[in-house]
């Protein structure tokens, strides 16, 4: 930055790209910076070229970007998450490679793969991306795809709002991506504690990128929470009492409530920090009455519920797959519901454990320490319930089950380190060390990541009509499990040895062996990512032999398995009347589940609209303009958003009508296919004979 702000371009000038840094100093750090920017640019060009060459622009726009179908929105969320995850995992590897080369001395400038400031940007973007743009979109995407189908609804309660939420999340992700090419990102970690991130100590655009990415995507997540909650309360099929909902719906309800109550805290703390930075306020500054402790306090009022927002959908997935793949009813349904809900409630009462070391009295720490341990109870109960579900079952070791087993064995270790950290007296020692880093990866990766990937594998055929290759799926899962062990177990040791988190350098040569092991693990994690992509590609290539038009490849028991695969836009030809928990399973048990509905009616679906797309574009422009102080663009995009909202509010919008005839035709075709197909037993589940039509006589669960 030249210091002068131009009215047209704000603080932007030609010196903001990593290429300028590269021209000034050529070293591994600037090469990596410029390389990352180039990957972004080339990736964008390659994407554009591909879309043009394949003539995909129009279908992309018509079938996806303007669609208000929750299933498609869900898939787009997951696609976004996978792209961001690729960046996050690569950043993780770069950080591990850096620390493996970062042994230094106190009187010598830091060495290693990247410069200290670059390292700080890496852990900040990595953390921000992984939490807000990988884990969140994964779970929100999965809920979007699955929840309405499990409830017996055709769509979310507010389909267009859903589109807007996706748009806002994508706009936030876009801002983090653009920071690779234009300017720097903040260096305060994913938590961005002031005063370090205040204007005095972090001038420049870095923290602002984080703030606007968070503020914009945060609004999206809040709206999503409302949408989920209303959908669950209002859009269930007749007979789908709350206590008949599959567990995944229950955990979605927990997530919805938690999003509604937790996200505003993040918006508030970020908005306050933004006011400090943009408008000369003093909420968190050192002088003039600011108090940085308030930031930590408000941030973690969001932050702790957030980690349970991340984990609960995974718990939902594990409930579904433990039952389906064991061919058994879920053990302890009521217990699991109570446990989920109590986790959701108690998780709002423990946030202080993130700053036991801020100087409050022992009494306060004791209260919050014990509250934290209490969460361990329902969590433990859930794990035992899933084990009881598998006990006396007939467990098929499919890819989701490999994830499930990895989760069991690793998550309890993460739980153990969580219990350790809940003790203030021990937390004084290991807080802010890599022990903590190991702990949260230990719950997030086996919990959230495995859970979501297991869910993707499980419901993939519903979305695309063909199964994923089981062998490659299992290999991917095993690599993620092995990669995790090698990457993060050493960090426990390093933390106990006293290595602070976020360390750009260290001086103790005893750390090195552990660093090497961790780097090897990070390579495995990258391999797992490639393996995942390869699974998608390979399954796509063999989509004919993997196709399951019958729609029930795993012999499942919840409603979504009663429809064809891929599931039609309207999901159900006629809304089911639910008689029992696990209604589809009960129907199968009673025999002849694929009976056609008595009559067909016209179906109303939300009309396509570019509303979400417009809001997303304008929100991105708003964020970018605020980051670079391009005030005219900020004002313009702000008014454009307002205008778009008003415009849509004033118009009468007709839904799209799917004529009964078309529904009937497609439904008949599906039922004829099922009637003609040979039902398979679970033994043939992984073979080409699995056409999604299971042998009902084998169904018992």
């Amino acid at each position: 930055m030249s210091g002068q702000s131009s009215p047209t371009f704000g603080n932007l000038d030609w010196e903001v790209t990593p290429y300028t840094d590269l021209l000034e100093h050529v070293n591994s750090s600037t090469i990596i910076g410029a390389g990352a920017a180039s990957v972004l640019v080339l990736g964008a060009f390659a994407g554009i070229a591909l879309l043009t060459y394949m003539r995909w622009w129009k279908p992309l726009f018509r079938d996806w970007l303007t669609s208000a179908d929750a299933k498609k929105i869900g898939i787009m969320y997951i696609a976004l998450a996978l792209v961001m995850m690729a960046r996050g995992i690569i950043e993780g590897l770069v950080m591990r490679a850096h620390q493996a080369t970062a042994l230094g001395a106190l009187d010598k400038a830091e060495t290693g793969l990247v410069a200290p400031d670059h390292f700080a940007q890496l852990f900040s973007t990595h953390g921000t991306i992984m939490i807000f743009f990988v884990a969140m979109p994964l779970l929100i995407g999965l809920i979007n795809f699955v929840l309405p189908q499990q409830l017996g609804a055709r769509d979310m309660a507010f389909p267009v709002l859903n589109q807007v939420s996706l748009g806002l999340t994508a706009a936030g992700a876009g801002l983090v991506m653009v920071s690779l090419l234009i300017g720097d990102f903040g260096t305060g970690g994913w938590t961005m504690y002031p005063p370090y991130t205040g204007l005095d100590y972090s001038p420049g655009e870095g923290v602002d990128y984080w703030l606007w990415a968070i503020l914009i995507s945060g609004v999206g997540s809040t709206l999503t929470g409302m949408n989920f909650a209303v959908t669950i309360f209002k859009s269930r099929a007749p007979g789908m009492h709350l206590m008949r909902m599959p567990l995944f719906c229950w955990t979605s309800l927990c997530v919805a409530i938690m999003l509604i109550y937790a996200m505003p805290a993040l918006t508030v703390s970020s908005a306050m920090l933004a006011l400090d930075r943009y408008a000369g306020f003093h909420f968190f500054t050192n002088a003039s009455g600011g108090n940085m402790m308030n930031y930590a306090n408000i941030f973690w009022m969001f932050g702790h519920p957030e980690v349970y927002i991340l984990i609960l959908p995974a718990f939902g997935v594990f409930s579904e797959i433990s039952s389906t793949y064991s061919g058994k009813r879920l053990y302890g349904y009521t217990s699991l519901v109570i446990a989920s809900m109590s986790i959701a409630v108690v998780s709002f009462m423990v946030w202080l454990h993130h700053f036991f070391t801020m100087g409050q009295s022992a009494g306060v720490n004791i209260a919050f320490g014990i509250a934290t341990m209490i969460i361990g109870i329902p969590t433990g109960v859930k794990i035992y319930d899933w084990m009881a579900t598998m006990w006396r079952g007939r467990v098929r070791i499919t890819a989701p089950v490999v994830y499930l087993v990895g989760f069991f064995l690793l998550f309890v270790i993460g739980g153990l380190s969580g219990i350790i950290l809940a003790n203030p007296s021990i937390d004084y020692q290991v807080h802010n060390t890599t022990f903590l880093v190991a702990h949260f990866h230990n719950v997030i990766i086996p919990g959230v990541l495995y859970g979501m990937l297991a869910g993707v594998h499980y419901w993939f055929p519903k979305a695309f009509g063909f199964r994923l290759d089981e062998s490659w799926g299992r290999r991917t899962a095993l690599l993620f499990v092995g990669g995790f062990i090698f990457t993060f177990m050493p960090l426990y040791v390093l933390g106990l040895m006293g290595l602070p988190r976020r360390s750009p350098t260290f001086q103790d040569p005893d750390f090195l062996p552990w660093m090497y092991i961790a780097s090897f693990g990070a390579v495995l994690m990258l391999a797992a990512l490639f393996c995942l992509l390869w699974t998608f590609w390979k399954s796509y290539r063999h989509r004919m032999s993997l196709s399951v038009p019958g729609g029930d490849p795993w012999n499942g028991s919840s409603l979504e398995w009663s429809t064809p695969a891929p599931v039609p836009e309207w999901t159900f030809a006629s809304i089911p009347k639910v008689q029992a928990r696990g209604d589809w399973g009960e129907t199968k048990r009673a025999g002849d589940p694929w009976r056609a509905p008595d009559s067909y009616a016209d179906i109303e679906m939300p009309a396509n609209t570019a509303h979400g797309l417009i809001i997303a574009g304008m929100a991105f422009a708003l964020g970018f303009a605020m980051v670079w102080h391009i005030w005219w663009l900020a004002a313009l995009s702000f008014f454009a958003i307002t205008a778009a909202l008003i415009w849509r509010g004033m118009r009468v919008i007709e839904p799209r009508i799917i004529p009964a005839r078309q529904v009937e035709e497609e439904d008949r075709r599906f039922r004829e296919y099922v009637a003609g197909a040979t039902p398979i037993t679970r033994a043939d589940e992984e073979s080409e004979r699995n056409r999604g039509v299971p042998d009902c006589s084998e169904f018992a669960g």
């Binding site: 005095d200 100087g359 720490n365 070791i397 087993v405 153990l416 807080h431």
Partner: protein, 317 residues
Amino acid sequence: MFLLAGMTAAIALAMAPASAHGVVEDSFLQPMGPVAAEQSKHLLRVIGITMIVILPVLIGVPLILWRYRYRKPRGAYSPEWEYSEKLEYALWGVPVLIVIVLAGWLWHSTAKLDPYQQLGPDPLQVQAIGLDWKWVFIYPEQGIATVDELAIPVGRPVQLMLTTDTVMQSMLIAPLTGQIYAMPGMSTQLNFSASRAGTAEGENTQFNGSGFGRQKFKVRALDPDEFDRWLDGPDSGLTLDEATYATLRRQSVLADAKSDLGLERSTGPLVMSLGARDVFDRVIGKYHRTGNGENAADAEAWGGIGLPAPAKQESGQ
């Protein structure tokens, strides 16, 4: 199982005394004082108790998987079994009991190891000011100040008051005691004592910029007479006055700060005599002055306020 073995091995390894360069301890698993000793004992206790709920999972899952696998099942198949009252009591009861036991220990150890609680009468008073990438230690009664070296006598309790004159930091001297945050305009404290002579590493654990990884200092626990000799020992000839302090406040690690001060550039500690006794209070007071803290008044703030200008620009003046 192999995970568990790995964990145990890892902890055992971490507990093994630091090898070749074993002079500087950096982990609370090799405690040098009662606080850290109690903390490491409590860690092992918590691990032990929690194992009661964890082992069944680590052992049970592989067993279930092997016994009930679809291809070659051994045990019975009860697909519609979904509830057992007795089992419910066990599933909820055992974790509840464990948490009650753990909570009792948590209460006990947290109250006992409260960092604000003095460890005995007449503690040695030391004040610490966190600056960017170094710590200033002030011994108000002895009239000396050091940078990045904290010497304490074995056996005598220490009361360390902390603040910073920059962003939030967190001081950890793992072999002696846990960490506590230090924040501008506020003071926090750590109470601890050393029970054996030796050298420990102290550090900041709260990221605060490029030099963060080098913000380490030595804590020397000395036998009492050696401590007295240390107090009388040679110093750098510098006095911690406002000018020296302003130079120390710049973003730099100790070695660079020493060369800024005209001393030989090295990692050796910097020992100074104390100009004014109330340096610590002045530094805290800077952030509590009324009026508009940004303008004229700042020039008078002791050593300055906000991010100091880097060395080069000043030498040009």
